[in-house]
């Protein structure tokens, strides 16, 4: 008896892109069917806007501009950082359910599971940030600069979010269950978001905390976005943000890929 042997796929960048897009499409489709994801992505950030705008906002004094204009850049960044939870949950569930085993047994690009995940999260973040912009305008947020700077600010948020998803992907692949992954991610996530300039000026924090808050990437990114929508010198902040994003990808993408290859 003879068997026709199927040749290995061509491989290369073309296949990596194609497979990455197929996996991203699958992830986006799946996301729309998980109520948890919808809530995490939309209702929760809206609650943050309303809470800080109307509950805490009155007590926070930021001198130069109305608090809502100070707040919204922080909200944009906070939303994509907390949204990383979706990366973590999605990828750990794939791992737990044996889907990654199936993907590993298919003649697809090895990179596709991770690029597909981070791409899908990028698309989700575009939608979520757009929603936050609309909600922001509804509660009185105004751009002090121009449309180009504002667009640049939004792009910067998305670049930062994309970089973070590689970090979240590594966490998801490194812990045994989706629950454990969430538990592992939430504390550092909360520290990064709250011990930053996202909601309050860093200068109001005690010295030791200021030292941390001033240099960490969420503050850097929020300051860059704020400079782009409120005005003032933005170039340095923007470059620092891009450097952080590049650094995060340079460190975490190879680690996540390596981890994916080894995850047994």
């Amino acid at each position: 008896m003879t068997v026709s042997v199927v040749a290995a796929p061509r491989g290369g960048v073309g296949m990596a892109v194609e497979d990455g897009l197929v996996v991203a499409g699958r992830n986006l489709r799946a996301m729309t069917r998980v109520p948890q994801v919808i809530v995490f992505s939309t209702i929760q950030p809206v609650i943050f806007v309303l809470m800080f705008r109307y509950v805490f906002g009155g007590a926070i004094n930021v001198a130069s501009v109305p608090y809502v204009d100070y707040l919204m850049p922080g909200i944009f960044v906070q939303t994509v950082v907390f949204g990383g939870m979706n990366t973590v949950i999605g990828l750990s569930e794939d791992l737990g359910r044996g889907l990654l085993e199936r993907f590993r047994s298919l003649p697809m690009a090895r990179s596709a599971v991770l690029t597909g995940r981070t791409l899908a999260d990028l698309v989700r973040n575009v939608g979520v940030v757009a929603l936050m912009v609309i909600v922001g305008f509804l509660v009185g947020f105004r751009v002090h600069t121009d449309a180009v700077s504002f667009l640049g600010a939004i792009l910067l948020v998305l670049v930062f979010a994309f970089a973070l998803s590689w970090m979240f992907a590594l966490v998801a692949l490194s812990v045994p269950t989706a629950e454990a992954a969430q538990a592992a991610v939430f504390p550092p996530m909360a520290v990064l978001v709250f011990a930053s300039s996202a909601f309050v000026p860093v200068q109001t924090m005690p010295g030791w905390l200021q030292a941390f808050a001033e240099v960490q990437p969420v503050t850097i990114t929020v300051d860059a976005v704020r400079a782009l929508v409120i005005g003032g010198p933005a170039a340095t902040h923007v470059l620092q943000t891009l450097a952080w994003a590049a650094g995060i990808v340079a460190v975490f993408a190879p680690l996540a890929v390596r981890r994916y290859r080894r995850t047994a």
Partner: protein, 333 residues
């Protein structure tokens, strides 16, 4: 619908061939020099209890896991050096039905079709065809999270077949299914084999190996401890099994003693009964009964039957195959 482009013709005997596979997880030796050979168009049943190393062997053959030593080839392709080519030629369905709960059955099959680089149009046709064949057509557009266990397994198997792989690897395909689900799946698998698919099947059910496999490799603690056809394995035991049961434990112990003296019989304790393997059929059974009667311990139950694979496993390992031992849960599954 276009067939996948055939780039080579494989003319050798064994579609799957593994030599000296060794895999350790820390101190645990999951595979200890395992050799496997599955001739083209045949079914090899890899039979063993939980933790025997079945899943580890499957994961190495399917390129998912690297071995510490030894090599494996599928259609002559090395699972490490030619991993992508191996993947293009195998279909894997695992014991943890690896389908996406949030997608529909149809979407799951199309996803696999796209990821195996089939043309979009043929993926659609193939998905419809498989849904029909696996009796999932009416549930095709429902999310998989609404499926029953049996439906999930059938979809998982269908997903392994989307790209028409010549070699199929099924890791405990019916574990956890009810008898009806198991029978349905057996029918489907039997059909695939009839069409010429080469199949490596792992199972902890002796009945399943007996039903589906041409040859059986019995694996225990990472070693293949016996290999042959079901008939050959049974023949190792003699032609007949005489099963004698006693209500009292003391009678059982005494019977064990006297039966061990009457010649080439294998006595294994199994609950309240003894299994005696004899070569000369009914006459052997008479000898057993006479011996017991002479010793004043007539059995309460007496069954004379052909040996089953369960007896084989019992003889080889001193345990029943289907006993699940929590401390031996499948390593790194």
């Amino acid at each position: 619908m276009s067939a996948p482009q055939a780039d080579a013709i494989f003319r050798e005997e064994n579609a799957i061939e593994a030599r000296g596979l060794v895999k350790r997880f820390g101190d645990v030796v999951a595979l200890d020099h395992v050799d496997l050979a599955v001739p083209v168009g045949s079914v090899l049943g890899l039979l063993g209890p939980n933790g025997a190393g079945k899943t580890t062997a499957v994961r190495i053959v399917t390129t998912i896991l690297g071995a510490d030593a030894g090599s494996a080839r599928v259609l002559g392709l090395d699972v490490v050096a030619d991993a992508q080519a191996v993947r293009a030629n195998i279909g894997l369905a695992g014991q943890y039905a690896a389908v996406d709960d949030n997608l529909t059955g149809r979407e799951n099959l199309r996803l696999v079709g796209r990821l195996t680089h089939q043309p979009r149009a043929s993926v659609r046709l193939r998905a419809d065809e498989l849904l029909e064949r696996f009796d999932l057509a009416s549930a095709a557009d429902r999310p998989v999270k609404t499926y029953s266990g049996g439906m999930r397994r059938r979809l998982d198997l269908a997903a392994a077949l989307v790209h028409r792989p010549p070699v199929l690897i099924l890791d405990e395909p019916t574990t956890g299914l009810d008898p009806r689900g198991r029978n349905d799946l057996w029918d489907v698998i039997g059909g695939l084999v009839a069409e010429g698919t080469t199949l490596l099947l792992t199972t902890q059910y002796l009945e399943e190996a007996d039903h589906l496999a041409h040859r059986i490799a019995v694996i225990d603690h990472g070693r293949v401890i016996a290999e042959g056809t079901a008939a050959e394995l049974k023949a190792r035991l003699g032609r007949t099994v005489v099963e004698v049961g006693f209500a009292e434990r003391t009678s059982l112990d005494r019977a064990k003693g006297v039966l061990a003296e009457i010649g080439p019989v294998d006595v294994t304790t199994d609950g309240g009964a003894l299994h005696v393997n004899v070569d000369d059929g009914a006459r052997g059974a008479v000898v057993v009964v006479r011996t017991l009667d002479g010793a004043g311990i007539p059995p309460d139950r007496l069954i004379v039957r052909e040996p089953t694979l369960d007896d084989v496993f019992m003889q080889l390992t001193g345990r029943r195959a289907e006993e699940s031992d929590a401390s031996e849960a499948e390593v790194a599954s």
